[in-house]
Symmetry: C2
Subunit: 324 residues, 2 copies
């Protein structure tokens, strides 16, 4: 394992201190020393990506590195936080294909995927560890938000609109294509599945407008359920108004596309609620950061959800190692 440790050190060598980024002491001591901004709350989330559970072993290394960080950053986006620091716990299987013989190229690509997204998201890799075992990436992300300004799952009120950023169903559509053997990462659906983009700018733009928010990781219906329960509201959805990912209908057909968008997960878009009078302003702000916001329904007092009858499924098959 020593060789891999050395490789990791080579690829992940970051500066040991970066005052501008609030890193007083980074990699290379027992712990990192960070300088939080005054008047802010810390926003912290942990996400673990396990090979053949959360991503296929044969996925490109760059996508594995990018995706492990992206899914964690998506939680910061949902809270309206700006990202500041991250920590990476990498468990490498020294006997597995990617690491036997081809360690060097695999790790270089993996690091490129992880560190590129660090740069894009202004998140400094401030520490981590490397251990031996089943390929697993544990990512801790730390962000900040002005005191009391975080968007949470609570706060949605009856009659609030329900809206989503970007497009949905791409995660499930990409998984379906992958399982059919598609390997071209430039395919827009595969890109949505393997290289999701955390909506950090959108989340920050929605602060003060969104009454509640969550990221779509488990699936739109499941995540809306989390939000509904936390806010004690019900929901009426209009599935026909869902902004389907480009190419999704062509790949799956319309009904399956809507089912994928409702149940598929892995989209990492933001699902938010907001008062009707705030919609224009929210859409203006999102347009300014290159994003769209589409109304897909509204909240109601009565619990539960309606409008999805003909598309209701118990759940969508997430990736679980078996290729049909």
């Amino acid at each position: 394992m020593v060789a891999e440790f050395d490789l990791i050190r080579r690829y992940f060598t970051t500066s040991t201190a970066d005052a501008a980024a609030g890193v007083c002491l980074g990699v290379g001591d027992d712990a990192a020393l960070l300088a939080p901004a005054s008047g802010h709350q810390l926003v912290v989330s942990v996400d673990t990506s396990v090979v053949n559970v959360h991503f296929p072993a044969e996925a490109p290394a760059r996508a594995i590195g990018h995706r492990a960080l992206a899914v964690a950053l998506s939680d910061l986006a949902a809270m309206g936080a700006r990202s500041r620091w991250c920590f990476m716990a990498l468990t490498l299987d020294q006997h597995s294909a990617p690491l036997s013989g081809e360690s060097d190229a695999w790790l270089a690509d993996y690091a490129e995927g992880f560190l590129s997204l660090c740069r894009e998201s202004n998140s400094v890799l401030a520490g981590g560890d490397v251990t031996s075992g089943q390929l697993t990436i544990g990512v801790t992300v730390m962000g900040e938000v002005l005191d009391g300004q975080a968007i949470t799952r609570r706060g949605a009120r009856a009659d609030d609109l329900i809206a989503v950023t970007g497009s949905v169903g791409g995660g499930a559509g990409g998984l379906a294509l992958w399982q059919r053997g598609e390997r071209d990462l430039s395919h827009p659906l595969l890109e949505r599945y393997l290289l999701p983009q955390p909506r950090l700018a959108a989340g920050q733009a929605l602060r003060g407008l969104a009454t509640a928010g969550i990221d779509i990781s488990d699936g739109l219906l499941a995540d809306l359920g989390h939000l509904r329960r936390a806010s004690c509201v019900g929901a009426v959805l209009a599935p026909e108004s869902l902004p389907l990912a480009a190419g999704l209908e062509d790949a799956l057909g319309r009904d399956a596309a809507i089912q994928a968008a409702l149940g598929g997960g892995d989209d990492y878009e933001l699902l938010v609620t907001l008062h009707r009078t705030q919609l224009d302003e929210a859409q203006r702000r999102l347009a300014a950061v290159g994003q769209t916001l589409t109304v897909i329904g509204h909240c109601r007092e009565a619990p539960g959800i309606s409008g999805v009858g003909r598309y209701a499924r118990d759940g969508w098959q997430h990736f679980s190692g078996e290729t049909p």
Copy 2:
């Protein structure tokens, strides 16, 4: 896996907010919201414990939970920080022995080990996740230290004394006993190996006195090497003065006991340097928190290390899944 998720939720249900502990929003949203203390730096470390690499699969569940958190907290102790929050990423093998059939008891014991140490260390479990895969525990610990007061690996000067808290060699001695079949956790060496105590109070007491510090996880010589290189000093050790763990000489014989103390690791004591004039005060402060501090050598200008000749070994065999 759903059943295990439910169990985890049951055993790890903590309050969703705890203002006194600086938790504005804990488990149950996309991310935790934490309130850092003003005038402090954050101290953050990540440690991953993998089954059969860092602990034996047959170790008591309580010890596995305790140990995973303890090794992470030990890094905060080394920096002189007080612990505040922790996050637990638990990957469970749903097909493995501890979880098939006996999930309930195993998880209850695991949670008891983890949460007891949370209470003892004033560390609030503020979030985490549960995934499916090889049994792995990723722990992120977050602490605080007054601006500029952290103890780091740099700062040791020629002529500084080298000292250790508590006793050493117990981790390696306990591992040796475990590998011989000893399973009684009340045996002091086994307790040292499986239930290490992070020296948080000692680390905080040494702030302002220690010129440098590190925790003994890789082994005393290896960790002293990290400190020497970071501080650009050499060292002269007096191995005969090492405070050996109780029972270690009886179990291994004197020479092997000293070798275990120098190379064994897993002790989670603090190794610090300090000016000679500060020794009395440091020992007084440690006595006040029930700890000892033993001088085991001193720093010098010339690089390298001397005094360990007859005990020098390339390395001690850490636990790696094979029982001899």
